[in-house]
Subunit: 213 residues, 3 copies
Protein backbone atom coordinates (compact mmCIF):
# COMPACT_ATOMS: atom_id res chain seq x y z
CA UNK A 1 0.00 0.00 0.00
CA UNK A 2 2.80 2.37 0.92
CA UNK A 3 4.59 1.46 -2.31
CA UNK A 4 1.37 2.16 -4.23
CA UNK A 5 1.09 5.64 -2.79
CA UNK A 6 4.68 6.40 -3.61
CA UNK A 7 4.27 5.16 -7.18
CA UNK A 8 1.10 7.24 -7.54
CA UNK A 9 2.88 10.35 -6.25
CA UNK A 10 5.80 9.73 -8.59
CA UNK A 11 3.48 9.37 -11.58
CA UNK A 12 1.63 12.52 -10.56
CA UNK A 13 4.86 14.49 -10.25
CA UNK A 14 6.09 13.09 -13.57
CA UNK A 15 2.85 14.31 -15.19
CA UNK A 16 3.26 17.71 -13.56
CA UNK A 17 6.83 17.98 -14.80
CA UNK A 18 5.88 16.92 -18.32
CA UNK A 19 3.03 19.44 -18.48
CA UNK A 20 5.21 22.26 -17.14
CA UNK A 21 7.95 21.49 -19.64
CA UNK A 22 5.60 21.26 -22.61
CA UNK A 23 3.49 24.21 -21.46
CA UNK A 24 6.45 26.53 -21.01
CA UNK A 25 8.01 25.27 -24.23
CA UNK A 26 4.83 26.10 -26.16
CA UNK A 27 4.65 29.48 -24.43
CA UNK A 28 8.29 30.30 -25.21
CA UNK A 29 7.47 30.09 -28.92
CA UNK A 30 4.79 32.75 -28.60
CA UNK A 31 6.43 36.03 -29.52
CA UNK A 32 7.01 38.65 -26.87
CA UNK A 33 6.64 36.58 -23.70
CA UNK A 34 9.27 37.22 -21.04
CA UNK A 35 10.50 34.96 -18.23
CA UNK A 36 7.44 35.78 -16.10
CA UNK A 37 5.10 34.81 -18.92
CA UNK A 38 6.90 31.59 -19.81
CA UNK A 39 7.24 30.35 -16.22
CA UNK A 40 3.67 31.38 -15.37
CA UNK A 41 2.21 29.65 -18.40
CA UNK A 42 4.28 26.53 -17.73
CA UNK A 43 3.00 26.39 -14.15
CA UNK A 44 -0.58 27.09 -15.23
CA UNK A 45 -0.37 24.25 -17.77
CA UNK A 46 0.94 21.91 -15.09
CA UNK A 47 -1.30 22.93 -12.19
CA UNK A 48 -4.38 24.46 -13.88
CA UNK A 49 -6.29 21.24 -14.46
CA UNK A 50 -5.89 20.14 -10.85
CA UNK A 51 -6.86 23.59 -9.56
CA UNK A 52 -10.09 23.64 -11.63
CA UNK A 53 -10.84 20.11 -10.37
CA UNK A 54 -10.30 21.05 -6.73
CA UNK A 55 -12.27 24.30 -6.95
CA UNK A 56 -15.24 22.39 -8.44
CA UNK A 57 -14.92 19.70 -5.76
CA UNK A 58 -14.55 22.33 -3.01
CA UNK A 59 -11.23 20.83 -1.95
CA UNK A 60 -9.50 24.18 -1.52
CA UNK A 61 -6.81 25.41 -1.17
CA UNK A 62 -6.13 23.10 -4.14
CA UNK A 63 -3.89 20.08 -3.48
CA UNK A 64 -1.29 21.35 -5.94
CA UNK A 65 -1.16 24.51 -3.88
CA UNK A 66 -0.92 22.90 -0.45
CA UNK A 67 1.86 20.49 -1.43
CA UNK A 68 5.06 22.40 -2.25
CA UNK A 69 6.44 19.47 -4.27
CA UNK A 70 3.96 20.13 -7.08
CA UNK A 71 4.90 23.80 -7.14
CA UNK A 72 8.62 22.99 -7.13
CA UNK A 73 8.37 20.39 -9.90
CA UNK A 74 6.17 22.67 -12.02
CA UNK A 75 8.48 25.65 -11.57
CA UNK A 76 11.52 23.47 -12.31
CA UNK A 77 10.05 22.08 -15.53
CA UNK A 78 9.04 25.54 -16.71
CA UNK A 79 12.47 26.98 -15.92
CA UNK A 80 14.21 24.21 -17.87
CA UNK A 81 11.98 24.94 -20.87
CA UNK A 82 12.71 28.67 -20.58
CA UNK A 83 16.48 28.17 -20.57
CA UNK A 84 16.77 25.35 -23.08
CA UNK A 85 13.82 26.02 -25.37
CA UNK A 86 16.18 26.42 -28.34
CA UNK A 87 17.58 22.92 -27.89
CA UNK A 88 14.20 21.47 -26.96
CA UNK A 89 13.04 22.38 -30.47
CA UNK A 90 14.76 19.22 -31.67
CA UNK A 91 13.05 17.12 -29.02
CA UNK A 92 9.41 17.87 -29.91
CA UNK A 93 8.72 14.14 -30.28
CA UNK A 94 9.95 13.03 -26.83
CA UNK A 95 8.29 16.08 -25.22
CA UNK A 96 4.94 15.13 -26.73
CA UNK A 97 5.30 11.55 -25.48
CA UNK A 98 6.01 12.94 -22.01
CA UNK A 99 3.08 15.36 -22.25
CA UNK A 100 0.85 12.38 -23.07
CA UNK A 101 1.95 10.86 -19.74
CA UNK A 102 0.68 13.95 -17.95
CA UNK A 103 -2.62 13.76 -19.80
CA UNK A 104 -3.05 10.07 -18.92
CA UNK A 105 -2.12 10.39 -15.27
CA UNK A 106 -4.27 13.47 -14.65
CA UNK A 107 -7.36 12.04 -16.36
CA UNK A 108 -7.15 8.93 -14.15
CA UNK A 109 -6.43 10.69 -10.85
CA UNK A 110 -9.01 13.42 -11.64
CA UNK A 111 -11.76 10.89 -12.29
CA UNK A 112 -10.97 8.80 -9.22
CA UNK A 113 -10.82 11.88 -6.98
CA UNK A 114 -14.19 13.05 -8.31
CA UNK A 115 -15.76 9.66 -7.49
CA UNK A 116 -14.16 9.76 -4.03
CA UNK A 117 -15.82 13.15 -3.48
CA UNK A 118 -19.24 11.69 -4.30
CA UNK A 119 -19.82 12.91 -7.85
CA UNK A 120 -21.89 10.75 -10.18
CA UNK A 121 -20.12 8.60 -12.80
CA UNK A 122 -20.83 10.88 -15.77
CA UNK A 123 -19.67 13.93 -13.83
CA UNK A 124 -16.55 12.09 -12.68
CA UNK A 125 -15.68 11.22 -16.29
CA UNK A 126 -16.14 14.87 -17.32
CA UNK A 127 -14.12 16.15 -14.37
CA UNK A 128 -11.33 13.66 -15.04
CA UNK A 129 -11.15 14.86 -18.63
CA UNK A 130 -11.14 18.50 -17.46
CA UNK A 131 -8.27 17.70 -15.09
CA UNK A 132 -6.30 16.30 -18.02
CA UNK A 133 -6.96 19.03 -20.58
CA UNK A 134 -7.70 22.04 -18.32
CA UNK A 135 -4.17 23.31 -17.85
CA UNK A 136 -3.35 23.46 -21.55
CA UNK A 137 -6.72 25.08 -22.28
CA UNK A 138 -6.08 27.83 -19.72
CA UNK A 139 -2.63 28.45 -21.21
CA UNK A 140 -4.00 28.77 -24.74
CA UNK A 141 -6.85 31.04 -23.59
CA UNK A 142 -4.35 33.33 -21.84
CA UNK A 143 -2.27 33.82 -24.99
CA UNK A 144 -5.38 34.31 -27.13
CA UNK A 145 -4.98 31.04 -29.05
CA UNK A 146 -7.88 28.75 -29.83
CA UNK A 147 -7.20 25.89 -27.37
CA UNK A 148 -5.47 23.14 -29.33
CA UNK A 149 -7.54 20.54 -27.46
CA UNK A 150 -10.60 21.95 -29.24
CA UNK A 151 -9.18 22.11 -32.71
CA UNK A 152 -6.47 19.61 -33.52
CA UNK A 153 -5.45 16.03 -32.94
CA UNK A 154 -6.85 13.54 -30.48
CA UNK A 155 -6.36 15.03 -27.03
CA UNK A 156 -9.63 15.13 -25.12
CA UNK A 157 -10.79 11.78 -26.49
CA UNK A 158 -8.00 9.65 -24.95
CA UNK A 159 -8.49 11.54 -21.67
CA UNK A 160 -12.21 10.78 -21.83
CA UNK A 161 -11.33 7.13 -22.40
CA UNK A 162 -8.97 6.96 -19.41
CA UNK A 163 -11.50 8.69 -17.14
CA UNK A 164 -14.23 6.29 -18.31
CA UNK A 165 -12.13 3.18 -17.64
CA UNK A 166 -11.28 4.56 -14.20
CA UNK A 167 -14.93 5.19 -13.35
CA UNK A 168 -16.05 1.78 -14.61
CA UNK A 169 -13.28 0.10 -12.59
CA UNK A 170 -14.43 2.00 -9.50
CA UNK A 171 -18.08 1.04 -10.12
CA UNK A 172 -17.06 -2.61 -10.59
CA UNK A 173 -14.99 -2.33 -7.41
CA UNK A 174 -11.81 -3.46 -9.15
CA UNK A 175 -10.01 -0.12 -9.04
CA UNK A 176 -6.46 -0.18 -7.81
CA UNK A 177 -3.01 0.63 -9.06
CA UNK A 178 -3.29 -1.99 -11.80
CA UNK A 179 -6.57 -0.56 -13.12
CA UNK A 180 -5.14 2.96 -12.92
CA UNK A 181 -2.11 1.92 -14.95
CA UNK A 182 -4.28 0.16 -17.54
CA UNK A 183 -6.50 3.25 -17.91
CA UNK A 184 -3.50 5.57 -18.21
CA UNK A 185 -1.76 3.27 -20.69
CA UNK A 186 -4.83 3.10 -22.95
CA UNK A 187 -5.01 6.90 -22.93
CA UNK A 188 -1.30 7.21 -23.64
CA UNK A 189 -1.40 4.73 -26.52
CA UNK A 190 -4.43 6.35 -28.17
CA UNK A 191 -2.79 9.75 -27.83
CA UNK A 192 0.51 8.55 -29.26
CA UNK A 193 -1.18 6.68 -32.12
CA UNK A 194 -3.12 9.88 -32.83
CA UNK A 195 0.12 11.90 -32.96
CA UNK A 196 1.86 9.32 -35.14
CA UNK A 197 -0.94 8.99 -37.70
CA UNK A 198 -2.00 12.63 -37.39
CA UNK A 199 -5.56 11.63 -36.54
CA UNK A 200 -8.15 14.34 -35.90
CA UNK A 201 -11.51 14.39 -34.19
CA UNK A 202 -14.31 15.06 -36.70
CA UNK A 203 -15.00 18.67 -37.68
CA UNK A 204 -18.52 20.03 -38.14
CA UNK A 205 -20.09 18.77 -41.37
CA UNK A 206 -19.79 21.34 -44.12
CA UNK A 207 -16.74 23.19 -42.79
CA UNK A 208 -13.42 23.40 -44.60
CA UNK A 209 -11.70 20.94 -42.28
CA UNK A 210 -14.61 18.55 -42.23
CA UNK A 211 -13.64 14.97 -42.91
CA UNK A 212 -17.23 14.21 -43.87
CA UNK A 213 -17.10 16.66 -46.75
CA UNK B 1 -45.90 24.49 -5.12
CA UNK B 2 -44.91 21.22 -6.73
CA UNK B 3 -46.15 22.53 -10.09
CA UNK B 4 -44.11 25.70 -9.57
CA UNK B 5 -40.93 23.74 -9.05
CA UNK B 6 -41.55 21.66 -12.12
CA UNK B 7 -42.21 24.77 -14.22
CA UNK B 8 -39.04 26.37 -12.85
CA UNK B 9 -37.00 23.28 -13.70
CA UNK B 10 -38.49 23.16 -17.19
CA UNK B 11 -37.66 26.83 -17.79
CA UNK B 12 -34.14 26.26 -16.48
CA UNK B 13 -33.62 23.28 -18.75
CA UNK B 14 -35.07 25.21 -21.69
CA UNK B 15 -32.56 27.99 -21.01
CA UNK B 16 -29.74 25.47 -20.78
CA UNK B 17 -30.76 23.88 -24.07
CA UNK B 18 -31.04 27.25 -25.80
CA UNK B 19 -27.61 28.35 -24.58
CA UNK B 20 -25.98 25.06 -25.57
CA UNK B 21 -27.53 25.23 -29.04
CA UNK B 22 -26.55 28.85 -29.62
CA UNK B 23 -23.12 28.43 -27.99
CA UNK B 24 -22.18 25.42 -30.07
CA UNK B 25 -23.67 27.00 -33.19
CA UNK B 26 -21.49 30.08 -32.69
CA UNK B 27 -18.48 27.87 -31.99
CA UNK B 28 -19.05 25.76 -35.11
CA UNK B 29 -18.60 28.86 -37.25
CA UNK B 30 -15.15 29.46 -35.78
CA UNK B 31 -12.69 27.89 -38.16
CA UNK B 32 -10.74 24.82 -37.15
CA UNK B 33 -12.81 23.65 -34.17
CA UNK B 34 -13.48 19.93 -34.09
CA UNK B 35 -16.30 18.00 -32.38
CA UNK B 36 -14.56 18.26 -29.00
CA UNK B 37 -14.29 22.02 -29.32
CA UNK B 38 -17.85 22.57 -30.51
CA UNK B 39 -19.44 20.34 -27.86
CA UNK B 40 -17.19 21.73 -25.11
CA UNK B 41 -17.94 25.33 -26.04
CA UNK B 42 -21.67 24.60 -26.27
CA UNK B 43 -21.62 23.06 -22.80
CA UNK B 44 -19.50 25.88 -21.37
CA UNK B 45 -21.95 28.43 -22.79
CA UNK B 46 -24.85 26.57 -21.23
CA UNK B 47 -23.32 25.73 -17.86
CA UNK B 48 -20.57 28.32 -17.39
CA UNK B 49 -22.72 31.09 -15.92
CA UNK B 50 -24.22 28.76 -13.33
CA UNK B 51 -20.81 27.33 -12.45
CA UNK B 52 -19.33 30.81 -11.85
CA UNK B 53 -22.38 31.67 -9.73
CA UNK B 54 -22.07 28.52 -7.62
CA UNK B 55 -18.30 28.84 -7.15
CA UNK B 56 -18.77 32.42 -5.93
CA UNK B 57 -21.61 31.34 -3.62
CA UNK B 58 -19.59 28.34 -2.39
CA UNK B 59 -22.35 25.97 -3.48
CA UNK B 60 -20.00 23.40 -4.98
CA UNK B 61 -19.93 20.99 -6.72
CA UNK B 62 -22.05 23.35 -8.86
CA UNK B 63 -25.73 22.48 -9.24
CA UNK B 64 -25.35 22.03 -13.00
CA UNK B 65 -22.71 19.47 -12.23
CA UNK B 66 -24.57 17.54 -9.56
CA UNK B 67 -27.77 17.21 -11.59
CA UNK B 68 -27.21 15.01 -14.65
CA UNK B 69 -30.23 16.52 -16.43
CA UNK B 70 -28.40 19.79 -17.01
CA UNK B 71 -25.39 17.96 -18.40
CA UNK B 72 -27.57 15.82 -20.64
CA UNK B 73 -29.61 18.74 -21.99
CA UNK B 74 -26.46 20.82 -22.55
CA UNK B 75 -24.66 17.99 -24.34
CA UNK B 76 -27.77 17.27 -26.42
CA UNK B 77 -28.17 20.89 -27.52
CA UNK B 78 -24.50 21.14 -28.42
CA UNK B 79 -24.58 17.88 -30.38
CA UNK B 80 -27.62 19.03 -32.38
CA UNK B 81 -25.80 22.25 -33.26
CA UNK B 82 -22.70 20.30 -34.27
CA UNK B 83 -24.61 18.01 -36.63
CA UNK B 84 -27.09 20.48 -38.09
CA UNK B 85 -25.13 23.72 -37.98
CA UNK B 86 -25.39 24.04 -41.77
CA UNK B 87 -29.18 24.04 -41.63
CA UNK B 88 -29.28 26.10 -38.47
CA UNK B 89 -27.65 28.92 -40.43
CA UNK B 90 -31.11 29.69 -41.84
CA UNK B 91 -32.63 29.74 -38.35
CA UNK B 92 -30.47 32.45 -36.77
CA UNK B 93 -33.57 34.45 -35.82
CA UNK B 94 -35.38 31.69 -33.89
CA UNK B 95 -32.10 30.63 -32.25
CA UNK B 96 -31.54 34.16 -30.97
CA UNK B 97 -35.08 34.30 -29.58
CA UNK B 98 -34.40 31.02 -27.78
CA UNK B 99 -31.03 32.26 -26.54
CA UNK B 100 -32.82 35.29 -25.06
CA UNK B 101 -34.95 32.84 -23.07
CA UNK B 102 -31.78 31.39 -21.55
CA UNK B 103 -30.51 34.87 -20.70
CA UNK B 104 -33.81 35.81 -19.04
CA UNK B 105 -34.22 32.63 -17.04
CA UNK B 106 -30.62 32.55 -15.82
CA UNK B 107 -30.58 36.21 -14.75
CA UNK B 108 -33.72 35.64 -12.65
CA UNK B 109 -32.68 32.35 -11.07
CA UNK B 110 -29.12 33.63 -10.52
CA UNK B 111 -30.30 36.72 -8.68
CA UNK B 112 -32.81 34.83 -6.53
CA UNK B 113 -30.25 32.17 -5.61
CA UNK B 114 -27.74 34.87 -4.61
CA UNK B 115 -30.34 36.49 -2.31
CA UNK B 116 -31.17 33.08 -0.84
CA UNK B 117 -27.47 32.62 -0.05
CA UNK B 118 -27.42 35.88 1.87
CA UNK B 119 -25.75 38.26 -0.58
CA UNK B 120 -26.72 41.93 -0.49
CA UNK B 121 -29.15 43.27 -3.12
CA UNK B 122 -26.50 44.98 -5.30
CA UNK B 123 -24.32 41.87 -5.24
CA UNK B 124 -27.32 39.69 -6.07
CA UNK B 125 -28.13 41.86 -9.10
CA UNK B 126 -24.52 41.60 -10.30
CA UNK B 127 -24.38 37.86 -9.70
CA UNK B 128 -27.69 37.36 -11.52
CA UNK B 129 -26.32 39.25 -14.50
CA UNK B 130 -23.09 37.22 -14.40
CA UNK B 131 -25.15 34.02 -14.37
CA UNK B 132 -26.93 35.20 -17.52
CA UNK B 133 -23.94 36.41 -19.50
CA UNK B 134 -21.09 34.35 -17.97
CA UNK B 135 -21.34 31.29 -20.19
CA UNK B 136 -21.17 33.21 -23.46
CA UNK B 137 -18.32 35.33 -22.12
CA UNK B 138 -16.27 32.25 -21.22
CA UNK B 139 -16.91 30.80 -24.69
CA UNK B 140 -15.77 33.96 -26.43
CA UNK B 141 -12.69 34.26 -24.20
CA UNK B 142 -11.72 30.67 -25.02
CA UNK B 143 -11.79 31.27 -28.78
CA UNK B 144 -9.92 34.58 -28.41
CA UNK B 145 -12.91 36.73 -29.43
CA UNK B 146 -13.81 39.94 -27.63
CA UNK B 147 -16.92 38.81 -25.69
CA UNK B 148 -19.94 39.94 -27.70
CA UNK B 149 -21.69 40.92 -24.45
CA UNK B 150 -19.05 43.63 -24.07
CA UNK B 151 -19.14 44.99 -27.55
CA UNK B 152 -22.41 44.63 -29.40
CA UNK B 153 -26.14 44.80 -28.91
CA UNK B 154 -28.11 44.91 -25.70
CA UNK B 155 -27.24 41.76 -23.80
CA UNK B 156 -26.06 42.56 -20.29
CA UNK B 157 -28.57 45.39 -19.85
CA UNK B 158 -31.73 43.25 -20.14
CA UNK B 159 -30.11 40.71 -17.80
CA UNK B 160 -29.36 43.50 -15.32
CA UNK B 161 -33.01 44.55 -15.58
CA UNK B 162 -34.33 41.05 -14.90
CA UNK B 163 -31.99 40.57 -11.96
CA UNK B 164 -33.03 43.96 -10.53
CA UNK B 165 -36.76 43.20 -10.79
CA UNK B 166 -36.13 39.85 -9.11
CA UNK B 167 -34.22 41.43 -6.23
CA UNK B 168 -36.81 44.17 -5.72
CA UNK B 169 -39.59 41.59 -5.71
CA UNK B 170 -37.70 39.59 -3.10
CA UNK B 171 -37.11 42.69 -0.97
CA UNK B 172 -40.81 43.60 -1.26
CA UNK B 173 -41.63 40.01 -0.34
CA UNK B 174 -43.76 39.50 -3.46
CA UNK B 175 -41.39 37.12 -5.22
CA UNK B 176 -42.90 33.98 -6.63
CA UNK B 177 -43.39 32.32 -9.96
CA UNK B 178 -45.45 35.27 -11.25
CA UNK B 179 -42.75 37.80 -10.37
CA UNK B 180 -40.08 35.54 -11.86
CA UNK B 181 -42.01 35.28 -15.12
CA UNK B 182 -42.57 39.05 -15.24
CA UNK B 183 -38.85 39.69 -14.67
CA UNK B 184 -37.84 37.16 -17.31
CA UNK B 185 -40.39 38.50 -19.79
CA UNK B 186 -39.16 42.07 -19.41
CA UNK B 187 -35.61 40.88 -20.05
CA UNK B 188 -36.68 38.83 -23.04
CA UNK B 189 -38.66 41.70 -24.59
CA UNK B 190 -35.85 44.24 -24.14
CA UNK B 191 -33.39 41.78 -25.63
CA UNK B 192 -35.63 41.00 -28.59
CA UNK B 193 -36.43 44.68 -29.22
CA UNK B 194 -32.68 45.32 -29.10
CA UNK B 195 -32.06 42.61 -31.72
CA UNK B 196 -34.90 43.83 -33.93
CA UNK B 197 -33.89 47.50 -33.92
CA UNK B 198 -30.16 46.72 -33.73
CA UNK B 199 -29.79 48.82 -30.58
CA UNK B 200 -26.36 49.13 -28.98
CA UNK B 201 -25.18 50.17 -25.56
CA UNK B 202 -23.25 53.46 -25.70
CA UNK B 203 -19.59 53.34 -26.69
CA UNK B 204 -16.95 55.48 -24.98
CA UNK B 205 -17.20 59.12 -26.07
CA UNK B 206 -14.70 59.92 -28.79
CA UNK B 207 -14.29 56.39 -30.18
CA UNK B 208 -15.19 55.34 -33.70
CA UNK B 209 -18.32 53.50 -32.63
CA UNK B 210 -19.42 56.20 -30.23
CA UNK B 211 -23.03 57.25 -30.65
CA UNK B 212 -22.18 60.53 -28.95
CA UNK B 213 -19.79 61.42 -31.73
CA UNK C 1 -5.37 49.38 16.11
CA UNK C 2 -8.58 50.99 14.93
CA UNK C 3 -6.56 53.62 13.06
CA UNK C 4 -4.49 50.83 11.47
CA UNK C 5 -7.57 49.09 10.16
CA UNK C 6 -8.95 52.30 8.73
CA UNK C 7 -5.65 53.08 7.00
CA UNK C 8 -5.53 49.54 5.61
CA UNK C 9 -9.09 49.87 4.29
CA UNK C 10 -8.28 53.24 2.73
CA UNK C 11 -5.18 51.83 1.01
CA UNK C 12 -7.19 48.84 -0.22
CA UNK C 13 -9.91 51.08 -1.62
CA UNK C 14 -7.31 53.36 -3.22
CA UNK C 15 -5.79 50.31 -4.91
CA UNK C 16 -9.23 49.17 -6.07
CA UNK C 17 -9.98 52.62 -7.49
CA UNK C 18 -6.62 52.81 -9.26
CA UNK C 19 -7.04 49.37 -10.82
CA UNK C 20 -10.61 50.12 -11.95
CA UNK C 21 -9.53 53.42 -13.50
CA UNK C 22 -6.53 51.95 -15.30
CA UNK C 23 -8.38 48.75 -16.26
CA UNK C 24 -11.33 50.59 -17.78
CA UNK C 25 -9.01 53.12 -19.42
CA UNK C 26 -7.07 50.31 -21.09
CA UNK C 27 -10.32 48.63 -22.10
CA UNK C 28 -11.76 51.84 -23.57
CA UNK C 29 -8.90 51.93 -26.07
CA UNK C 30 -9.79 48.48 -27.36
CA UNK C 31 -11.98 49.02 -30.41
CA UNK C 32 -15.63 48.09 -30.32
CA UNK C 33 -16.18 47.85 -26.55
CA UNK C 34 -19.36 49.51 -25.29
CA UNK C 35 -20.19 50.84 -21.82
CA UNK C 36 -20.94 47.34 -20.55
CA UNK C 37 -17.56 46.09 -21.72
CA UNK C 38 -15.58 49.02 -20.36
CA UNK C 39 -17.25 49.02 -16.94
CA UNK C 40 -17.10 45.23 -16.69
CA UNK C 41 -13.42 45.11 -17.60
CA UNK C 42 -12.63 47.95 -15.19
CA UNK C 43 -14.38 46.10 -12.37
CA UNK C 44 -12.75 42.78 -13.30
CA UNK C 45 -9.32 44.46 -13.24
CA UNK C 46 -10.05 45.92 -9.82
CA UNK C 47 -11.74 42.93 -8.20
CA UNK C 48 -10.44 39.93 -10.18
CA UNK C 49 -7.23 39.41 -8.24
CA UNK C 50 -9.02 39.41 -4.91
CA UNK C 51 -11.73 37.09 -6.21
CA UNK C 52 -9.17 34.53 -7.45
CA UNK C 53 -7.39 34.80 -4.07
CA UNK C 54 -10.58 34.22 -2.10
CA UNK C 55 -11.80 31.34 -4.29
CA UNK C 56 -8.44 29.58 -3.82
CA UNK C 57 -8.55 30.23 -0.05
CA UNK C 58 -12.20 29.13 0.12
CA UNK C 59 -13.20 32.47 1.62
CA UNK C 60 -16.34 32.85 -0.49
CA UNK C 61 -18.40 34.81 -1.31
CA UNK C 62 -15.23 36.83 -1.98
CA UNK C 63 -14.58 39.78 0.33
CA UNK C 64 -14.82 42.23 -2.57
CA UNK C 65 -18.25 40.84 -3.20
CA UNK C 66 -19.54 40.92 0.36
CA UNK C 67 -18.42 44.49 1.02
CA UNK C 68 -20.38 46.95 -1.16
CA UNK C 69 -17.66 49.62 -0.78
CA UNK C 70 -15.30 47.69 -3.06
CA UNK C 71 -18.01 47.30 -5.67
CA UNK C 72 -18.93 50.99 -5.44
CA UNK C 73 -15.34 52.20 -5.69
CA UNK C 74 -14.58 49.83 -8.57
CA UNK C 75 -17.71 50.84 -10.48
CA UNK C 76 -16.99 54.52 -9.82
CA UNK C 77 -13.41 54.30 -11.09
CA UNK C 78 -14.50 52.43 -14.20
CA UNK C 79 -17.29 54.93 -14.92
CA UNK C 80 -14.88 57.86 -14.64
CA UNK C 81 -12.53 56.17 -17.10
CA UNK C 82 -15.45 55.52 -19.48
CA UNK C 83 -16.59 59.13 -19.48
CA UNK C 84 -13.25 60.89 -19.44
CA UNK C 85 -11.04 58.42 -21.29
CA UNK C 86 -10.29 61.05 -23.97
CA UNK C 87 -8.83 63.45 -21.40
CA UNK C 88 -7.17 60.65 -19.43
CA UNK C 89 -5.03 59.97 -22.50
CA UNK C 90 -2.86 62.91 -21.41
CA UNK C 91 -2.56 61.51 -17.88
CA UNK C 92 -1.04 58.11 -18.69
CA UNK C 93 1.89 58.80 -16.37
CA UNK C 94 -0.12 59.60 -13.22
CA UNK C 95 -2.50 56.73 -13.95
CA UNK C 96 0.40 54.29 -14.09
CA UNK C 97 1.77 55.59 -10.80
CA UNK C 98 -1.68 55.06 -9.27
CA UNK C 99 -1.95 51.59 -10.82
CA UNK C 100 1.39 50.72 -9.18
CA UNK C 101 -0.23 51.60 -5.83
CA UNK C 102 -2.93 49.00 -6.51
CA UNK C 103 -0.30 46.41 -7.42
CA UNK C 104 1.68 47.10 -4.24
CA UNK C 105 -1.28 47.10 -1.87
CA UNK C 106 -2.83 43.96 -3.31
CA UNK C 107 0.41 41.96 -3.29
CA UNK C 108 0.89 42.77 0.40
CA UNK C 109 -2.68 42.15 1.54
CA UNK C 110 -2.92 39.03 -0.66
CA UNK C 111 0.21 37.49 0.86
CA UNK C 112 -0.75 38.32 4.44
CA UNK C 113 -4.28 36.95 3.97
CA UNK C 114 -2.85 33.71 2.52
CA UNK C 115 -0.58 33.28 5.57
CA UNK C 116 -3.52 34.00 7.87
CA UNK C 117 -5.44 31.19 6.12
CA UNK C 118 -2.63 28.75 6.84
CA UNK C 119 -0.88 28.52 3.48
CA UNK C 120 2.86 27.82 3.43
CA UNK C 121 5.28 30.73 2.83
CA UNK C 122 6.04 29.90 -0.83
CA UNK C 123 2.33 29.50 -1.59
CA UNK C 124 1.54 32.77 0.20
CA UNK C 125 4.13 34.60 -1.91
CA UNK C 126 2.62 33.15 -5.10
CA UNK C 127 -0.93 33.94 -4.00
CA UNK C 128 0.05 37.50 -3.07
CA UNK C 129 1.54 37.98 -6.51
CA UNK C 130 -1.59 36.49 -8.13
CA UNK C 131 -3.72 38.93 -6.12
CA UNK C 132 -1.68 41.81 -7.50
CA UNK C 133 -1.53 40.80 -11.14
CA UNK C 134 -4.67 38.62 -11.46
CA UNK C 135 -7.18 41.33 -12.32
CA UNK C 136 -5.18 42.77 -15.20
CA UNK C 137 -4.45 39.28 -16.52
CA UNK C 138 -8.16 38.40 -16.57
CA UNK C 139 -8.91 41.66 -18.40
CA UNK C 140 -6.29 41.00 -21.05
CA UNK C 141 -7.41 37.39 -21.49
CA UNK C 142 -11.01 38.54 -22.00
CA UNK C 143 -10.08 40.92 -24.82
CA UNK C 144 -7.80 38.33 -26.44
CA UNK C 145 -4.58 40.21 -25.68
CA UNK C 146 -1.44 38.49 -24.41
CA UNK C 147 -1.46 39.60 -20.74
CA UNK C 148 0.95 42.53 -20.47
CA UNK C 149 2.21 41.14 -17.14
CA UNK C 150 3.64 38.21 -19.14
CA UNK C 151 5.26 40.17 -21.91
CA UNK C 152 6.37 43.68 -21.06
CA UNK C 153 7.92 45.71 -18.28
CA UNK C 154 8.47 44.77 -14.66
CA UNK C 155 5.06 44.01 -13.22
CA UNK C 156 5.02 40.60 -11.58
CA UNK C 157 8.53 40.96 -10.20
CA UNK C 158 7.82 43.95 -7.89
CA UNK C 159 4.65 42.18 -6.74
CA UNK C 160 6.69 39.06 -5.98
CA UNK C 161 9.08 41.25 -4.00
CA UNK C 162 6.32 42.85 -1.93
CA UNK C 163 4.71 39.49 -1.21
CA UNK C 164 8.09 38.04 -0.17
CA UNK C 165 8.85 40.91 2.23
CA UNK C 166 5.37 40.51 3.73
CA UNK C 167 5.83 36.78 4.24
CA UNK C 168 9.30 37.18 5.76
CA UNK C 169 7.99 39.88 8.11
CA UNK C 170 5.18 37.53 9.17
CA UNK C 171 7.62 34.66 9.71
CA UNK C 172 9.91 36.95 11.75
CA UNK C 173 6.85 38.07 13.69
CA UNK C 174 7.47 41.75 12.90
CA UNK C 175 4.53 42.22 10.54
CA UNK C 176 2.37 45.25 11.14
CA UNK C 177 1.34 48.40 9.36
CA UNK C 178 4.96 49.57 9.18
CA UNK C 179 6.18 46.37 7.56
CA UNK C 180 3.20 46.43 5.17
CA UNK C 181 4.02 49.97 4.10
CA UNK C 182 7.71 49.11 3.61
CA UNK C 183 6.80 46.10 1.47
CA UNK C 184 4.33 48.11 -0.61
CA UNK C 185 6.78 51.00 -1.02
CA UNK C 186 9.56 48.71 -2.27
CA UNK C 187 7.14 47.22 -4.81
CA UNK C 188 5.94 50.67 -5.89
CA UNK C 189 9.49 52.01 -6.30
CA UNK C 190 10.70 49.01 -8.32
CA UNK C 191 7.62 49.25 -10.53
CA UNK C 192 8.05 53.00 -11.06
CA UNK C 193 11.80 52.68 -11.73
CA UNK C 194 10.95 49.94 -14.22
CA UNK C 195 8.45 52.24 -15.99
CA UNK C 196 10.88 55.16 -16.00
CA UNK C 197 13.86 53.24 -17.39
CA UNK C 198 11.69 50.94 -19.54
CA UNK C 199 13.19 47.85 -17.90
CA UNK C 200 12.01 44.42 -19.04
CA UNK C 201 12.17 40.98 -17.54
CA UNK C 202 14.44 38.67 -19.56
CA UNK C 203 13.01 37.00 -22.66
CA UNK C 204 13.80 33.40 -23.57
CA UNK C 205 17.35 33.03 -24.92
CA UNK C 206 17.37 32.97 -28.70
CA UNK C 207 14.12 34.86 -29.28
CA UNK C 208 13.86 38.20 -31.06
CA UNK C 209 13.32 40.15 -27.85
CA UNK C 210 15.96 38.29 -25.92
CA UNK C 211 18.37 40.54 -24.06
CA UNK C 212 20.90 37.70 -24.01
CA UNK C 213 21.09 37.70 -27.79
Amino acid sequence: MEAENILRLLLDLLGTFAFALNGAFTAARVARLDIVGVITLGMITALGGGIIRDVLLDDVPPATFRDWRYLAVAAGGALIAFIFHKYLGRLTGPIELLDAVGLSVFAVTGASKAMEFGLGPVQAIILGTITGVGGGTLRDALVGKIPSVMSEGLYAIPALLAASITVFALLADVYGLTAAIIAATVCWLVRVIGIYFKLNAPHPPGTKNSTAE
